[in-house]
């Protein structure tokens, strides 16, 4: 009986793996290359949502400024992987500092994690709404800094942003070019897809391991009841800081990938709306459940694009002109979807109850 279930899981996993591997080709063939790019961005959002899930879903700390860590990661690579530093320090870096992506990545994760702890430290006593307000402020501070740090030293190039960021290269192959592998043509967006896929897999792995560990249980204990948690000997201060730092590090990794992929960063990519979007992915998908969060991220990242590509032609066909701007329609649908989810599935589309059944079947087996 057990063996059968095991092999069934294997089959399911293999099918899933193959379909994900073929996804860019299928998307390219069916919808066009632009859509592969959209899927790439969706992967970045999924990574962000999984990072925020640690803070909000596991430790129960409402963070409305999460995009700030994405910004920290993105600017890290934007500064160290582009000619921009030549503007700020012409003598020191005449051509800018072109560090390898793989050196910047861990540094950016560390720096973003540090910023996470920095945000966590003064907010340890805050909960719920109050914490949300402070984190919201923090997110805005970071964005405004990026916007204004073009004087006295032009560090971030202000609202114009930083461009000409080096592409990510893997084993000496720059991912912004088309490559031939075993006679199969892999365009840049496909290459980035596989890069992001491996990072997402890594993030999922880390999340899963943490979730089922002593640390994860302590986070959930804090989420459920902070006073009881501390009475059980859980050092709530350290663990909350750890949750902030871990979540932020994931955000930083995602940001670094974003900068390398996009080749351009500017402060407007890191607005409050983005923080809200990522939070919605977590809440809509199912707080605390990795697969729910992935689903939420995928849905919310793709929805605006689907609308953009369907609403305009549809309206033009029906009325001969555009009556409702797709952007405002997006917000309308978005709000409706959120209200519907909160009413009918308050724990999210795919809540972690699935895990309970998993545990129950474990119980019966031995």
């Amino acid at each position: 009986m057990k063996k059968l279930k095991f092999s069934k899981q294997h089959v399911l996993f293999s099918v899933l793996f193959v379909s994900v591997m073929l996804l860019p080709f299928a998307t390219d063939a069916l919808l066009g290359r632009g859509w592969v790019r959209i899927v790439d961005f969706a992967m970045l959002y999924i990574m962000l949502a999984l990072g925020l899930n640690i803070v909000v879903g596991y430790a129960g700390l409402l963070d409305l400024g999460y995009i700030a860590f994405f910004a920290v990661g993105a600017y890290c690579y934007a500064l160290t992987g582009s000619p921009h530093l030549a503007l700020a320090f012409p003598l020191l870096f005449p051509d800018g500092l072109h560090l390898s992506f793989w050196i910047v990545l861990p540094l950016a994760a560390l720096l973003a994690g540090g910023f996470g702890a920095l945000l966590g430290a003064p907010t340890l006593r805050l909960r719920g709404d109050y914490l949300a307000i402070v984190t919201l402020g923090f997110g805005e501070i970071i964005r405004i800094f990026m916007n204004n740090l073009n004087a006295p030293i032009n560090l971030t190039n202000g609202p114009q942003g930083i461009s000409r960021i080096d592409p990510v290269s893997v084993a000496g192959v720059a991912l912004n070019t088309t490559q031939q592998v075993f006679g199969i043509e892999l365009p840049s967006v496909h290459l980035y897809f596989y890069l992001f896929l491996s990072f997402t897999a890594l993030v999922v792995f880390v999340s899963r391991r943490l979730e089922k560990s002593r640390i994860g249980r302590a986070w959930m204990a804090i989420r459920e009841d902070e006073i009881a948690a501390s009475a059980m000997g859980i050092n709530t201060r350290n663990l909350k800081l750890l949750a902030f730092a871990m979540g932020a590090a994931f955000g930083g990794v995602s940001g670094t990938l974003f900068a390398g992929f996009q080749g351009f960063v500017s402060p407007e990519s890191f607005s409050l709306m983005e923080s809200v979007m990522v939070l919605c992915m977590v809440v809509l998908g199912g707080m605390g459940n990795i697969y729910g969060v992935i689903l939420g991220g995928l849905l919310l990242a793709l929805l605006p694009e689907v609308l953009r590509h369907s609403v305009v032609p549809l309206q033009q066909a029906l009325f001969g002109r555009i009556v409702i701007d797709p952007e405002s329609l997006r917000m309308l649908l978005f709000g409706t979807a959120l209200i519907a989810v909160m009413l009918y599935r308050p724990a999210g589309l795919w809540p972690s109850g699935v895990r309970r059944r998993e545990l129950e079947s474990d119980e019966v087996a031995p």
Partner: protein, 256 residues
């Protein structure tokens, strides 16, 4: 007589202008069951919260297991060996009974982020031990069958038992119970009494606040009575019951 496990002397606690505790001193000996009674608002729970680190005492000395803890946080005292339950049950509602108990083992386990990420052998062993130990504790308090049920879905009596199992998971020297029999019927109270006696027989000192005088009298070795934040009596249950100050506190005295 050996050194007491918990020694409080001259403990005072003020909330604004209100003196919740004034000059409270008490000693709890190793291996005894110590009851704390008093009318409503006498300061029992405040004293309890001071003992478990939730409140910092305004003044006074706090010694536990031979060491001084003046302004210790709850997690430090939990590490030192004080575990507690709450008057209004505070379980981790959305975790299973088993996970609740495993969370209680936090102070006696070591695994960190790296152990969890890389699945180190030590971490896996520790995790397996924790699971086994938690299952054992659930069986010990009599809710083994509910190990995979979410804490919030357990019955009231089971939740009370789970809180005790979670507290025991931290391998305490002193188990502090805040009204463990509140809301229980006679049979459940009797079961609880048997359980507490067994816990004591395993070498754990028990301190409890209780309103059920019958339970206190039948269970405790010594009882302290609080009234208006002061300790008015202490001793064996029989002595305390006949103490005029205690009778006055509970029933009111003639000269008031």
């Amino acid at each position: 007589m050996s050194e007491p496990l918990l020694a409080l002397s001259g403990i005072g606690k003020q909330f604004g202008g209100l003196a919740a505790l004034t000059d409270v001193s008490l000693h709890i000996r190793r291996g005894e069951i110590y009851g704390l009674i008093g009318p409503n608002g006498a300061g029992k729970t405040t004293l309890f919260n001071v003992v478990t680190g939730l409140y910092q005492p305004g003044c006074g000395e706090f010694h536990f297991d031979g060491r001084s803890y003046q302004t210790a946080k709850p997690h430090v005292l939990a590490q030192a060996g004080i575990a507690r339950t709450f008057q209004n049950i505070r379980l981790f509602a959305n975790l299973t009974a088993l996970e609740n108990v495993m969370a209680g083992r936090h102070v006696r386990t070591r695994a960190g982020v790296f152990g969890a990420l890389f699945g180190l052998k030590s971490t896996r062993c520790e995790e397996r031990d924790s699971t086994l130990r938690a299952r054992e504790l659930l069986r010990y308090v009599g809710i083994k069958k509910s190990s995979q049920t979410l804490a919030k879905h357990l019955s009231y009596g089971e939740q009370r038992r789970l809180e005790i199992a979670r507290a025991l998971a931290s391998e305490p020297l002193l188990l502090a119970l805040d009204e463990p029999a509140a809301g229980m019927n006679a049979t459940e109270t009797e079961d609880l009494k048997v359980l507490l006696q067994d816990i004591r027989a395993n070498g754990i000192t028990v301190m409890l606040i209780e309103h059920d005088v019958k339970l206190i009298m039948g269970l405790c070795d010594r009882v302290a009575v609080l009234d208006y934040g002061r300790k008015i009596a202490e001793g064996a249950p029989d002595e305390v019951r006949s103490n005029p100050a205690v009778i006055a506190a509970y029933l009111g005295s003639d000269d008031e």
